[in-house]
Symmetry: C2
Subunit: 258 residues, 2 copies
DNA sequence: ATAAGAGTCTCGTTTTTTGCAACCGTAGTT
DNA sequence: AACTACGGTTGCAAAAAACGAGACTCTTAT
């Protein structure tokens, strides 16, 4: 195991539930000798991938991770615009919301706004999500050309509900282009439904998606139509500020849940 | 140079202005042979510290950085509450705002909201800021005990205006405890003033600060008092939700700019 | 005073990393 | 069509870093 893979493994140990790590934690969780764990954590500390947790010998995520993330996205005007709208939506509906982008064939989550309702969707940490098998992914795929869509590999979907052929996917993407929003239910996450819209700043080649996720069995079709309408309205407000023709050059749509 | 220091150096090359890197970029910027750069970037890609920029041979920041940052802070209820308030403040005033935490003796910036005014403060990327020499840092230091404050090293300040002795610092922190907000001018960043408040979620041992920064010469004292009042009001609203006794157990203060 | 556990350090060995130089693929120029 | 330039990759021997066992230190609990 190279030291870089060891460092990556350490970073993956952090989570909302595990904000600090000790030498013994790392040795145990990564099944490595204590001396190796001690040196690895010390080396990561020196590079600011980790920092000390106060005066304790425990370690926390370091400056470099936040600085890299922030330098990369902390100044995105589009992310800020979306963030403001999504925050309001999550507060109003009580559901969790995500802001994501495409990473080749996967969805990369940038921001999360947790819902406030007792029954809440929490995404498994670090899991990779295929774009074609999620509403948020499909909302962004709808902005790609057919040539790009045809190169996607449509396997490893967790649900029978995900499209299995490029023709089926193109059909769904056509619907999304028409109505402006995407939905998924019982696909990537069992028992969970989601509704997503996309937004782009063409001048900066930035394409994002934001969505609401909720337990599928608790939300009626009428309420889902309401969520879709609010997401579309939010996307339109953002689009007016960044001049996204996907929204600004389309007629107001009749919002109908499938 | 160990591969870990090389990887950290690569991550530091990213910025708002530099969202992608090629092998040649890294070789040139880090003064290393092309083969070393090629293999280093490939190794980082394999560990998801980097990802490919579409079909090009260029690299972008990878999943692991965002996942680590998000897993660590993306779910912070306190950060979300502060973020919502700060977003509104920045939109209302047009100035840049930061959300930060303490990292031992330094300030670690978590979120940035850029202002909208033409004359805007932009913090140098990756710079370390001493807590005792910034308003946002002092607002958090005001919540520490005297014993902890006395262990701080009060050197390397960029300005003569920063406190030089622990007695002087304690005096300033006493004022901050009394009025609830901190200010700085011409200290860490020449020509720039800032006003900050702190907020804590004691149940989760989370201490944050948020602030507005602006060019010092353009804002009159009366307007600064207005900013301080709005920051205090925002802190109070958050404090009511997380039960922060620093705010909820103090009388409404007369807001007076020093 | 003793035991247990967390964490550090030494040192010989092993593994990884390095950089030179050659090479490949692509694009532009003649 | 041939040549040049550039970005990026690969083989290989050498150099450097990393490894892990085991001894050690320090702290805490009994």
């Amino acid at each position: 195991m190279s030291i870089l893979s060891g460092a990556a493994a350490v970073l993956r140990l952090f989570s909302v539930e595990r904000q600090e790590l000790s030498v013994t934690d790392v040795a145990r969780l990564l099944d490595m000798p204590k001396s190796s764990a001690s040196r690895l954590l010390r080396a990561m500390l020196n590079q600011q991938l980790l920092m000390h947790a106060g005066d304790t010998p425990r370690y926390r995520v370091g400056h470099l991770i936040f600085e890299t993330s922030r330098a990369y996205f902390g100044h995105s005007h589009l992310v800020d615009l979306v963030d403001g709208e999504l925050l309001e939506l999550c507060q109003a509906t009580g559901h969790t919301g995500y802001i994501s982008m495409l990473d080749n064939e996967d969805v990369l989550v940038l921001r999360v706004h947790l819902g406030t309702q007792p029954l809440r969707v929490v995404t498994p940490h670090g899991s990779r999500r295929k774009a074609f098998a999620t509403s948020t992914g499909r909302s962004m795929l709808a902005r790609l050309g057919a040539a790009q869509v045809d190169t996607l590999t449509l396997d490893h979907a967790r649900s029978e509900k995900s499209p299995k052929t490029h023709a089926a996917l193109e059909h769904i993407l056509g619907e999304i282009r028409c109505k402006g929003w995407a939905e998924a239910e019982d696909e990537e996450i069992p028992g969970v439904a989601s509704i997503a819209v996309s937004i782009a700043d063409a001048r900066k080649s930035e394409l994002l998606s934001f969505c609401l996720v909720f337990p599928a069995h608790t939300i009626a079709q009428g309420e889902r139509a309401n969520y879709a309408a609010r997401l579309v309205a939010a996307a339109r407000r953002i689009a007016a500020q960044v001049d996204d023709p996907f929204w600004t050059q389309r007629h107001p749509l009749k919002i109908v849940a499938a």
